[in-house]
């Protein structure tokens, strides 16, 4: 098992290396000069030359890549061309916001999608099933920006039930930054007012971001459950007179869990790589917005940093999913 884990972690590093190589290659194929992009319309030729020298953009591509890897070994992701700060510092600031939003959205997806899917499967082709399928179709196909602006207008501006964009009421004193996750920081500081406010700020973006995943999850759970529900062993379980709770959760759901688990890993990975639209509309200072702005200004050190981080997150999630397989299905063993 330990050998397996080590091997998988080594793979993850290889994936990271592959990602840097591809991103680096792309940065060279794009016919735009990052220096010109970073310095704007007024920049003079001398400024551009100096900028290229300072960031090593004037060196041959392989030398640049070598230098990048060298720095990477020292866990130095380089300096962002746009913010002028170390990329690692930027990530430390933007990733926690994405982590907070992604986990909240993931919880929303689980809380809505899982029960809805199970319920729909148990009442196949009856009104509850039709309702779930209709809602899943509706939520899954509503564009994020539309849903976001609709809900903001309704729940924030008109009804005043929920706060608007941002992570915290600007008139509250923000809790000291420990993890960068505002809700958690507020808890750590024992600041209830800030915790409640941060949580309220999280509701809308988490719902908007999580709703599409919830829709997908509900359909997946429904399909997986239906496949299991007609198996002989379920019939046996019913025949034995087991209560519905045990049949559904112990016998059916556990066996339907494998494909769902795969989907969940992918969903969480997607959520963790940042959600540009949701973050933009809710002024959420997360990874998605950071990487979009970096990409449009050709800030390759920043883009590489984010890609690397997201690649590692995916690798780790995949590993986690594989380990959970073994837990759920005793026939699966890793060596």
């Amino acid at each position: 098992m330990a050998a397996y884990l080590l091997r998988r972690l080594a793979y993850a590093l290889l994936v990271g290396l592959g990602i840097t190589a591809i991103t680096f290659f792309i940065s060279q194929v794009i016919p735009i000069d990052p220096a010109a992009a970073a310095l704007g319309e007024n920049a003079r030729e001398e400024q551009i030359r100096e900028f290229r020298e300072r960031y090593g953009l004037d060196k041959p591509i392989l030398v640049q890549y070598g230098l990048y890897l060298q720095r990477l070994l020292r866990l130095d992701l380089g300096r962002s061309l746009r913010t002028g700060r170390p990329v690692a510092e930027d990530l430390k600031e933007f990733f926690p916001a994405t982590l907070e939003l992604a986990l909240a959205a993931f919880l929303v997806a689980l809380a809505l999608g899982l029960p809805a899917g199970i319920w729909a499967a148990l009442r196949q082709n009856r009104p509850p099933d039709l309702l779930v399928r209709f809602l899943a179709l509706l939520l899954g196909s509503t564009p994020v920006f539309f849903l976001a602006i609709l809900l903001l207008d309704l729940l924030h501006r008109r009804l005043g039930l929920l706060p608007g964009p941002g992570r915290l009421d600007p008139f509250l004193i923000p809790p000291p930054v420990v993890t960068g996750i505002t809700t958690l920081d507020a808890l750590l500081a024992g600041d209830w007012a800030a915790f409640k406010d941060a949580l309220a700020h999280l509701v809308l973006p988490a719902f908007v971001l999580g709703s599409a995943s919830a829709a997908l999850l509900a359909r997946m759970v429904r399909a997986a459950m239906l496949e299991v529900l007609f198996q002989d062993y379920i019939r046996t379980a019913w025949a034995k007179g087991l209560p519905e709770r045990l049949v559904v959760f112990r016998h059916a759901l556990k066996n339907a869990a494998l494909p769902v688990l795969t989907l969940l890993g992918g969903l969480l990975g997607g959520l963790l790589s940042g959600a540009v639209l949701t973050e933009t509309i809710f002024s959420w200072p997360g990874l998605g917005r950071y990487v979009t702005q970096s990409a449009t200004s050709l800030d390759f050190p920043a883009v590489m940093g984010v890609t690397l981080l997201v690649g590692l997150v995916y690798s780790l999630l995949n590993l986690l999913v594989d380990l959970l397989y073994a837990l759920l299905d005793p026939r699966i063993r890793y060596a």
Partner: protein, 443 residues
């Protein structure tokens, strides 16, 4: 200001008793340190000191605790230098505080990216990147702000920005669309400001040999084929000033003449005289982003395309990312480009040199506009200390470039700002900064 033998000598007397947010007094030592630091760091903006003002290390000296002497070469413009000193690069930093925080020869750069050490009315207390900046009154400042705490929030999406203003969550907004501004105008709960900028939106025509725009008659035709009035009225909803010369309103040398109006027939005749009786087809580059006044550049380009088409000027619009546009423009690979320009410092030379002097390798160079007379006029005007004489030089230069140059100036955009009616005293100066300490708010 003194005319020295081989340098301009500027002597400044510091006000006694001004204090940094640390409580230390502002002295000549801090001024000297500020400029040495700026020259050593070579950050963005330092070219204003090194290239425009040609300031050398050691050129800023403390004569006593409250007197500073600065020397710049005779080839630099003292007027421009004075303007530059009002810019961010001229902000005096607390030398002791910054030196205390400096690490590894960074002159406190890392420290100042998260803190402030100045003597202004506010100090920076918190900066959450991509989210908000919190300013609080500097307890030692001479100017006491009316509002003790200001929060600058970053809201990118214009629709959300409008919601935030309407729900009372924010009091002042920048970045509303012209439509949103129009809607706020009828509402007594809000005020609307169209803040003048020094920005110009213009068309650049590449005059390199072989290009159709190398022919002055073709450039002249384009000038008669642009419908400025409709552009400003319909697309910008009035959030712009009509201007045709290259020094924006608000700077010395602004020339209000607007000899060109929309006349497609005349443009067509000029095209025929230039050897294009069937009209001319060419590529117009536009950014995928937002142009001055809050309107998408693609919309501005489409309007120009429609108006020019009636004159036989058939533009093929290519919209590309701004970074790519700048790249193409710099490489002189454009035919016509829709672009914007703001002077680096509030002085006419911030426009005259880049627009008229080919050697400056800026706009004139990018459009292959090589005119010795124009370049000489720009250099002469930059160094002329007498404002009246300087103005006369710029009058000649702006009119020359208007008729012969590679540009069609489209408009000088205003920045749309929406405010709560409770806010008083908000000013946005044309260099895009706001004296927030003058702002007050009714409960």
């Amino acid at each position: 200001m003194d005319r020295g033998k081989d340098a301009w000598i500027l002597t400044f007397k510091l006000r006694q008793g001004s204090r940094f947010s640390s409580g230390r007094e502002v002295t000549a030592k801090d001024v000297v340190y500020t400029f040495e630091r700026a020259l050593a760091l070579k950050g963005p903006g330092s070219f204003l000191l090194t290239e425009i003002a040609q300031l050398k290390p050691g050129a800023v000296k403390a004569l006593d605790a409250y007197t500073v002497e600065m020397r710049i070469p005779k080839t630099a413009s003292p007027q421009s230098f004075l303007s530059i000193l009002t810019f961010t690069i001229g902000g005096i930093v607390d030398s002791e505080e910054v030196q205390k925080q400096a690490k590894g020869g960074d002159y406190g750069k890392d420290f100042l990216s998260q803190n402030s050490a100045g003597s202004g009315p506010y100090r920076l207390v918190r900066w959450d990147r991509g989210s908000q900046v919190i300013l609080e009154a500097n307890p030692y400042a001479r100017v006491k702000p009316k509002i003790p705490r200001v929060i600058l929030r970053y809201i990118q999406e214009p629709a959300v920005l409008r919601t935030a203003l309407e729900s009372g969550e924010v009091d002042i907004t920048e970045g509303l669309t012209p439509e949103a501004l129009k809607a706020l105008e009828g509402n007594p709960r809000f005020k609307v400001v169209r803040a003048e900028t020094l920005r110009l939106q213009y068309l650049g025509m590449n005059m390199k040999p072989g290009s159709p725009f190398a022919n002055p008659k073709v450039r002249e035709a384009v000038r008669w084929a642009v419908n400025q009035d409709e552009l400003i009225r319909d697309l910008l909803r009035g959030s712009a000033i009509k201007i045709q010369t290259f020094i924006p309103r608000g700077l010395l040398g602004y020339n209000p003449v607007t000899p060109y109006k929309y006349d497609p027939g005349r443009a067509r005749r000029l095209l025929a005289e230039a050897g294009y009786p069937q009209g001319l087809e060419f590529e117009l580059l536009a950014s995928t982003g937002i142009c001055g006044g809050g309107v998408p550049c693609a919309d501005v380009a489409a309007k120009l395309q429609a108006d020019m088409a009636k004159a036989g000027l058939r533009a093929r619009i290519r919209t590309i990312a701004n970074a790519e546009l700048l790249n193409t423009y710099r490489a002189q690979n454009h035919q016509m480009v829709l672009a914007g320009w703001s002077p680096d410092f509030p002085d006419p030379d911030g426009n005259a040199t880049p627009w008229a002097d080919y050697e400056a390798r800026s706009l004139a160079w990018r459009n292959s506009y090589r005119d010795e007379v124009a370049a000489k006029l720009a250099r002469q005007a930059a160094l002329e200390p007498d404002p009246e004489k300087r103005k006369a030089l710029y009058k000649v230069l702006t009119e020359k470039v208007l008729r012969e140059g590679p540009y069609v100036v489209l408009y000088q955009p205003a920045q749309p700002i929406g405010l709560s009616a409770k806010v008083e005293g908000f000013i946005k100066n044309p260099m895009m900064s706001s004296p927030l300490w003058l702002v007050s708010k009714q409960p």
